[in-house]
Symmetry: D2
Subunit: 349 residues, 4 copies
């Protein structure tokens, strides 16, 4: 398949750096354009930011010039890593100008005509796009991925959607990399737990309902499940761990649930999308897994891991889910979204 | 009040060391006797163990001789910090011989005639003791405190018992000190979460029902609430943090629940027991509290802290609770139990 | 002794909070005045800052009004916890106006006529004060304590000064609390080491020479020892650990050096100053001590610990030293300085 | 080049697991044989151990049968990951039987006729082998790699050997993975520093002199430099950081030293050995690098990083060095040794 040039909006921040790292060596997408704020525009990338990720700044990107975040010479496909404070207007301007904006920012996620996409769970939500373009008069489009903790939860629940999810109680133990840079002060988290992440519980509750919801012509009818999230920050670098208690309308047996995990596969796997993990959800047998430091990196950070399936005395079953928050929960999520869109022909002229 | 000599069974282990530290300067109890396994007996304490706690080994204890764990010259009141592997027989032998065994070990907690005591929650469960003595032919007695994570949960729920608790979903984030020494290998927990602690979920589920249950002459009728626990280890030194979703039969308003936290006080406070915190449960107003490293030590580690009370979309309310696992959850719990028993006259001839 | 009212300049920052915590229950000093920037002045303290320290904000301070950092109604004795960016002018203005400024800020430490005081090491450096007052036309005065890592090093070296120190190579492993709040981003230090702290090595090298130097009428003749420091940040909350290789001109035996540690005592101990630890330097026998989490708190954080004395193949001896950086290395250091000054009659009319 | 079958002695321990991970996909060596203790022999590998490394047990190894650690059907080239308690006799038995034992164990490192090899530093030390075979009557041979902290130090010093190293003072901050599994108890290291690692300082001091020494026909004449090491454990997962002060006889300028780092390359690079990093020592420009979590993984963990070169007030220069302790400092070191040996024709008949 022909290589497509791509750009990043918000390239100098932490999420932007994750996009740069994840796109290294991508077989379909070649990173040629970096957008950032006025402060950075006009500098070469290596001078425009401090690189925070392990392994060093890739040479191929170090000398790219940083551009203003304005449509113009940017490639058609843009990944947005912008701060919520500025993403709304800039993403819309690019979509208006004909760009395909595949965004990790939260700004458009809950808008009625914008897909909140997890390719293994709700690929059909891309059907919102034509209506979005009509209603907004855009040649381009905006497609979003969920919040990092929501992705982990929905990946874990995806195989179980068939059983009719009615209630979910979840507690997260989220990695510090989810808060960006400088993010969480070390005095707040070394040897500590912070039982609060601003806005996170609301995002998990709403986004989960939308992702597991049904496409209804011009909007997504959210899943009518009740969702309760307790969000916590823990001193882990990468990988969000979530505990899940879940209730089903169809009352599956434990082995039905386990089987659902074991056989789960989806469109990205069937189409062999480059960033799709061989198995989107891996059930780990060991009693004490998944664990973020040991399991978040599996399949380049794109697989979610689950484990500890057992009966829940209050709802029906409980289990643990884990995913890499900056890969599967951010940069990798958006790239996989773009791969799905390309495989649907949505990135062609 | 006259000072009472006390001893510790299992004095060389981590929990034993916590007892030694907590009893320093105690106004009622003077530590004069240390029991341990054959391997340690006959040595002075400083040579019988490696001291693991911050602040150094108290001088007053360093030169005490370690004794065999056999009744004989031990004082009447004994705190048990023994491993579960050996506690059953030894605790019974001491109770048989007329000792009051106030135990932190799990072995007798769920026995029908043994109080599982949290002085602020179920002081009346001490009424089991006469029946215990009759049935077992003991002059002495065994009284236990709950598992460290159970105490945190039940302290948080104690003020709310009045509303008729019917369902609880809880997730713990437990400190490494709860696993003793050497305990959790650092390779398993530095920068990591372990979503499993053997036997812990079952303990939390059962012990909570017993503690919140009702004394019925010769046994405790457990609370008929359903309890589901998800137990996790996190890289925190001291302090177990738990998230709680709870359902009530009486459907209190949020301000009813908040008021119940604010006004909660109990027998240990009314009697001014030496280790009783001024307020057993402290509601913290800040959005991101309680936190283990900042709040576990309040009131010498004897107060539980709660916070973040809010509506739960699945059950009725949710909140966060925190307690110091080796103080309120172990050594301090047992000492407060003994103080309550003394104030009831149970330690007199 | 009559209680003296004291104030804090820079009361809302982290160091200011450490002063507040350390002064709780002080037998000589009663905290009655809090100064801060315009932004905070006019608010009660609890509304003027976010409290970051473990254990909660002391009630006695919570409702004090924060004042402008201008002389006027402030008490004579002021502890300065101000940022270096503003400390120079404000400290001078207060000294000019007759206040005794006992400062933890770095601004005046290396000025020729300002004592850089460690009461156990160089109490005679207070003799600089009369000259300072004459030269600057001040009724008040400024006295400083060293950088937190310098204090640990000099406390460890103090007992050995008698042997004629000629060369020192030291590596620090410094706690995150030394960087204040928000201080070090967690993404930079969780599971990591940062082998650089801006300006720290220069401070350690110069301050050590001044502290170990000799009073010469109107200045301190710095110790002619060569000092080389390697400063590192490690994921420890409180307590700076330093490795030290040291060369002596008098070539003491190892047992001479050990004996010097064992018998070391100084003026603060002889005078029984309230914050003086019973022994300023504690030699720990265990092969793997001192350790910050286990030893930094000894004697309320005011004792330095040393250990692992052994021959150095390059210089003469090597050992490990440890001290609590925010107590002995900051707030407690300044309070002990003020206690020494009071015992010298320098705080009287 | 033809693929060579290889085995691992001590395959079930942590170091053995690192060998398995590092050898995955190796272009020259195919892992076909796993040796372990009697307890494990006869089981398939997945049942014989608990896998502790991130990323999961490679499928290609999971079903290999574990063999007794006795010569017989083992391949000629064996990597030894055995505990020091058993390595001496077993390694000798295999060497006697004609095997090439490339060992990470410490047992034979300091023997006069055994190369202690760092391929970039002292490849000519392999010339010891013929004498070793003659003297011991072996058809096989034993070649060792240094201790993990020694490798980091010597990689940093290798480019500077030309200047005549005369004195070294070094302090290590070592990762927990260096202690194996279960290794360091979390209660000893979370939020803490342990300023002692048994035997480590002696190893660093002696091994460094041997590695930097000269081949003299039948032995290595150790470098006559004085070396002083202070070894510490810090809460880092992977990557040993060392501070180094060094004195040279030839008194190079700072730019001479910097140039030496920048141009350093060696035999493994010239021969393109598969595990050789492009540049063995990478000088990082940023003021606060290298850092273990961000830099230890560079070039698959095989490159050492240095930084912060500056004048030392006591010796001549000081700098920071870093390397991945389980890769460059253990499994990768041994594999690179074997690659060098193969390129020398030492693995052929």
């Amino acid at each position: 398949m022909q290589t497509l040039e791509v750009g990043i909006l918000g390239a100098t921040g932490m999420v932007g750096q994750h996009f740069i790292k994840f796109l290294q060596g991508h077989p379909w997408f070649k990173l040629t354009w970096l957008g950032a704020s006025d402060r950075s525009a006009g500098k070469v990338y290596r001078d425009a930011m401090t690189w925070h990720l392990a392994g060093g700044l890739p040479d191929s990107v170090a000398d790219l010039m940083v551009e203003d975040s304005k449509p113009g010479n940017a490639p058609k496909l843009l990944f947005s890593a912008m701060d919520a404070a500025v993403a709304t207007d800039i993403e819309r301007a690019f979509a208006q100008a004909g760009h395909v904006v595949v965004s990790n920012s939260r700004n458009h996620r809950m808008e009625q005509d914008v897909p909140l996409l997890v390719p293994e769970i709700n690929p059909d939500h891309l059907k919102l796009v034509p209506g979005q373009q009509r209603a907004r008069g855009w040649k381009g489009q905006i497609v979003t991925n969920p919040n990092c903790s929501t992705i982990v939860l929905t990946m874990g629940l995806g195989p179980l959607k068939q059983f009719g999810i009615t209630r979910i109680v979840t507690t997260t133990m989220q990695a510090i990399s989810g808060a960006g840079y400088p993010g969480v002060p070390s005095m707040d988290i070394v040897g500590n737990v912070i039982p609060f992440i601003g806005g996170e519980e609301e995002k998990m509750q709403q986004e989960t309902q939308k992702i597991l919801g049904e496409f209804q012509g011009d909007h997504i009818e959210p899943l009518a499940a009740k969702v309760s999230a307790h969000c916590n920050r823990v001193p882990v670098v990468d990988g969000h761990t979530v505990t899940v208690s879940v209730e089903f309308s169809s009352k599956p047996t434990e082995s039905d649930v386990r089987h659902a995990f074991d056989v789960f596969t989806a469109l990205p796997q069937q189409r062999g999308l480059p960033s799709a993990p061989p198995r989107p959800v891996i059930y780990l047998e060991e009693a004490n897994r998944p664990q973020p430091r040991k399991d978040a990196d599996r399949d380049r950070g794109m697989a979610a891991c689950v484990g500890r399936l057992r009966a829940c005395p209050v709802l029906d079953y409980k289990f643990v889910a884990l995913g890499h928050n900056t890969v599967r929960g951010a940069a990798g999520a958006a790239v996989l979204n773009a791969e799905l869109m390309r495989s649907e022909g949505m990135l062609d002229r």
